[in-house]
Amino acid sequence: MTKEKQQKQPVPPLGAWLPAVALGWLIPGGGHFLLKRTGRGGLLLAAVTGMFVCGLLMRGAMFQPQSGDFLTVLINTGGFVGDVCSGVFYLLSVWLGYSQPDTAGHVHDYGTKFLVTAGLLNVLAMVDAYEIAIGRKE
């Protein structure tokens, strides 16, 4: 690796990317809409919304951070972070009282995974919005 590549790139100013990333967290695809990438923003919104709504309709469970052995902490805290990353969908569902116990059955299980994955896909969308906002990507 050359010395030029090893040198740290300057940190982009907070104001350049924070609004896009924050809006992208709150509303999936919102960062792209703010940056005038409406087509891509619409696709991200549709995909994350579809994933989250399917998770709700399959009665997936939301994770809550728990203490205990390492695996319990890792799974529940990671799952909770994944759920929270869905932004307004997570906030609305919790606010409106959605509370599904973790029950046996493949449909519930898929639902739980859909809910977490919706948040993780939104993280990818937020990273993309960040890269667009700092000019690393079109």
Binding site: R40, L43, L44, A46, A47, V48, G50, M51, C54, L57, M58, R59, H106, V107, Y110, K113, F114, T117, A118, L121, L124, A125, V127, D128, K137, E138
Partner: protein, 60 residues
């Protein structure tokens, strides 16, 4: 209202939504995004059928 999906239907939907996001965020041109989205969706389906058959044959 509750959705009762089979394993295949749930995995198909999962593949579809994930492929859309991976296609949108990964590449730099619309053409590449479309190709990558279709490619990942195809990979998901191949894995879905492949692992499905493996489990079927493994069960005897």
């Amino acid at each position: 209202m509750k959705m009762n999906l089979s394993h295949f239907e749930a995995a198909f939907l999962f593949s579809l939504f994930t492929s859309i996001v991976l296609g949108v965020v990964t590449k730099r041109t619309d053409r590449d995004r479309l190709h990558y989205g279709l490619y990942t969706f195809g990979c998901f389906l191949v894995a879905l059928f492949g692992i499905g058959w493996l489990m079927y044959l493994g069960h005897g």
